[in-house]
């Protein structure tokens, strides 16, 4: 049987980035590279990668323009899976982050120091809350658990002070004055905090002092996370409309919270994320993805923002989530902070109680104790599978270094073991997730020996890093403050000499020491 006699299996892949200063398609490019490498490593496979460029481009553009919908396509002929075409879609939301300014930096550091006292979010009085369920707490004392996470956040704040006083100052000057990129380890630390901040703040601020609110026009008065969710939900609809044989969501870091929120958004709230034309298109399909709710269903009554329902939508109109997610085969979260959100801000990651997922839809969560952002998901398994698939936790040694491992899940070096990339490639092509966990070292079960070993290694790494940073800070900080002090004194003398001409003859009048004493 030749490969030519098979129909091509159409597979959609949605990739969701975490927080950072990613540019459009930057995350997609990185993830697809890793997956193409894993696909190419399969025995007997042949593949072709295509980029779907837009027909138009900007004048004097330095790059070609990619199509926003399914910009990368990988055709694969595989001995096991047959002919497949993988189409990748990106949920890009980095621009929702506040624009860079000095005041933003200051707000960020102040917020990081105070993060451990940020109020929790345990429920909501809004009408739609009746169809949501907060993640359940695992066995144990709820207060103690929240307290332990707050203690950890306090330690993070303490580390932030040490980081700021050492490599923070150096990298700030290097990045802003010399355009040298921040080390990735530091970037991960800052991005994690910035992500948590963005997802909790109530408004999006612009630059300047005092900073003005700078919400997007379509999200005025709503928190920035609504804009982020909008990006996610629009891509979900786009993928559903593309009629794939099956599709997947791969979400990294804070992107897993974004993806989870998108998947769990209530049918009644969906219209708020669309413009009228896109909503009408989804309703005009032969198999409509939106439309009237079933008879007898009562819509939530009362003011229910974030997002508000548009004025053009009929009162009973909803998204048909079970149709939208009909071909959703699975969700992969890696380096996910969902469990931390579940402990402190459970309502931010509430589960929908409306059924939408077919039995067999999988949720795989990959974590590494060396990645402090990630964790075992223990609070998301109380709902019925058709409301929220139960997460399957898989331990994976993504990288050898603390923090850096957060960025290496799909890119981890190939040795004798099967990598996460290999497992994901198999899952995408065949629909079989048995290769996650794969064979060989580096894969482990939650709370097994290797889990604890890596956890201990992580704590030791923290102690070592803090010690090194303390010494570095003890050298850098006084040096910088002395240099600043000298500059201020010199400036003061210079100004004094300008306004008091008689001071030039006698430097002591301006407070400067005679030469040789300074």
């Amino acid at each position: 049987m030749s490969a030519a006699s098979t129909r091509e299996n159409r597979i959609g892949v949605v990739v969701v980035h975490g927080i950072g200063e990613q540019r459009r398609f930057e995350h997609l490019d990185g993830q697809v590279r890793a997956l193409v490498a894993a696909l190419a490593a399969r025995p007997g496979v042949r593949l072709t990668v295509e980029i779907t460029s837009a027909p138009d481009a900007q004048f004097h553009a330095s790059q070609d323009t990619w199509l926003a919908s399914g910009p990368v396509r990988v055709h694969v002929v595989d001995p096991d899976a047959g002919r497949c075409v993988l189409e990748f879609h990106e949920v890009w939301w980095a621009d929702v982050n506040e624009p860079y300014s000095l005041i933003k930096q200051l707000r960020f550091w102040a917020w990081s120091l105070a993060l451990w006292t940020y109020p929790g979010k345990f429920g909501s009085t809004r009408p739609s809350a009746r169809a949501r369920q907060t993640p359940s707490t695992p066995k144990g004392n709820l207060t103690l658990r929240a307290l332990s996470i707050r203690v950890r956040l306090f330690l993070v704040a303490a580390v932030a002070v040490v980081v700021a006083a050492s490599v923070g100052i150096i990298s700030f000057l290097a990045e802003r004055l010399l355009k040298i990129k921040t080390p990735r380890v530091l970037e991960t630390f800052v991005n994690y905090l910035a992500g948590v901040k963005l997802y909790n703040q109530k408004e999006r601020m612009g630059g300047g002092l005092p900073a003005a609110e700078q919400d997007f026009l379509d999200t005025i008065g709503e928190p920035p996370r609504v804009s982020v969710r909008r990006r996610m939900i629009r891509v979900l609809m786009q993928v559903a409309m593309a009629s794939y044989d099956r599709w997947y969501v791969l979400a990294h870091s804070l992107g897993s919270v974004v993806a989870f929120n998108g998947l769990m958004e209530l049918a009644y709230k969906w219209p708020g994320y669309f413009d009228q034309k896109s909503w009408a298109q989804a309703g005009a399909l032969a198999d409509p993805l939106v439309g009237a709710a079933r008879a007898g269903w009562a819509a939530p009554e009362g003011w229910d923002p974030a997002p508000v329902r548009p004025v053009w939508v009929a009162a009973e109109e909803i998204a048909y989530r079970s149709r939208i997610f009909h071909n959703l085969r699975g969700v992969l979260t890696f380096g996910s902070p969902l469990e931390k959100f579940a402990a402190l801000w459970p309502y931010r990651v509430a589960l929908a109680m409306e059924p939408a997922f077919r039995d067999g839809t999988e949720w795989i969560n990959v974590y590494d104790p060396m990645d402090p952002v990630s964790g075992v998901l223990r609070s998301f398994d109380q709902a019925k599978n058709y409301c929220c698939p139960r997460p399957r936790n898989v331990g994976y040694a993504a990288g050898p270094l603390l923090l850096l491992s957060h960025l290496q899940y799909l890119k981890s070096p190939r040795g004798k073991r099967k990598t996460l990339g290999d497992g994901v490639a198999e899952w995408l092509l065949t629909g079989d997730s048995a290769q996650i966990p794969g064979e060989g070292p580096g894969w482990f079960k939650p709370y097994g020996l290797q889990h604890y070993l890596r956890g201990t290694l992580a704590w030791c790494s923290w102690v070592l890093i803090v010690a090194v940073l303390l010494v570095a800070g003890a050298i850098v900080f006084p040096t910088i403050t002395q240099a600043l002090g000298k500059s201020v004194r010199a400036l003061r003398v210079h100004v004094c000499e300008m306004v008091r001409p008689d001071a030039a003859a006698d430097p002591r009048r301006c407070g400067s020491a005679p030469s040789g004493e300074d």
Binding site: P55, L113, S124, A474
Partner: protein
């Protein structure tokens, strides 16, 4: 400033440690007192209420008219559809489950007139670069024939001719959803103008 150690570096380390412990306390307390506020809709007791509700059958909460989530994934769903041997070469492939279909009933013209009108509309559409941009069609995408199957079936009366339009995206560069959108928004209005809107009464399909 007290200098407990002889080595200045050690004194700086201690100072930094103190700052690392004090600053978060200071900022945290001030922020909690003056800046951080609970969300206006925050409800302390909601989780308990929600957990009590969780005992209910969640399916009761579904607002959808059809419970499509009840179809489980099977091994076959993930398998690559394969046609074997001679059958693959001889038989016309059945429309893929992903293709979109729309059914209309009305006083429609004969198949030849309808086919000619459809192809003419399609050619006009595909030759228009603005439409390419509008629908994000891939560069160089220009099928000479409309990628749609239009089947006419006679009805009991001349007013009850059935037209079934099925997309023919296959593994092509344009998805079946896009093709159906083009049919509904670009081709159908022109045909309705030509043959009358009463010729195209949409029939809701049974699922």
């Amino acid at each position: 400033m007290p200098q407990p150690f002889v080595l200045p570096l050690a004194n700086h380390v201690v100072a930094l440690l103190i700052a690392a412990a004090v600053l978060p306390v200071l900022f945290g307390v001030c922020a909690r007192a003056f800046f951080f506020r609970r969300d206006a809709d925050d409800a302390r007791r909601a989780p308990q209420a929600a957990q009590a509700r969780a005992a209910l059958d969640a399916a009761q909460l579904s607002p959808e008219p059809e419970e499509r989530f009840r179809q489980p994934w099977t091994a076959q769903d993930s398998a690559t559809p394969v046609a074997t041997g001679a059958a693959a070469e001889a038989a016309e492939p059945a429309p893929a489950p992903t293709e979109r279909r729309a059914v209309y009933v009305g006083r429609l013209p004969d198949a030849r007139t309808f086919g000619t009108a459809l192809e003419s509309r399609w050619r006009r559409f595909i030759a228009d670069p603005r439409q390419h941009a509008r629908y994000g069609l891939p560069r160089g995408y220009a099928p000479t024939l409309a990628p749609l199957n239009a089947a006419l079936a006679a009805g009991a009366t001349p007013e009850a001719v059935t037209l079934t339009v099925t997309t023919r995206a296959g593994s092509g560069e344009v998805s079946s959803a896009q093709l159906m959108q083009i049919w509904e928004q670009e081709l159908l209005p022109g045909l309705q103008e030509q043959f009358g809107t009463e010729a195209f009464r949409r029939v809701p399909e049974e699922r």
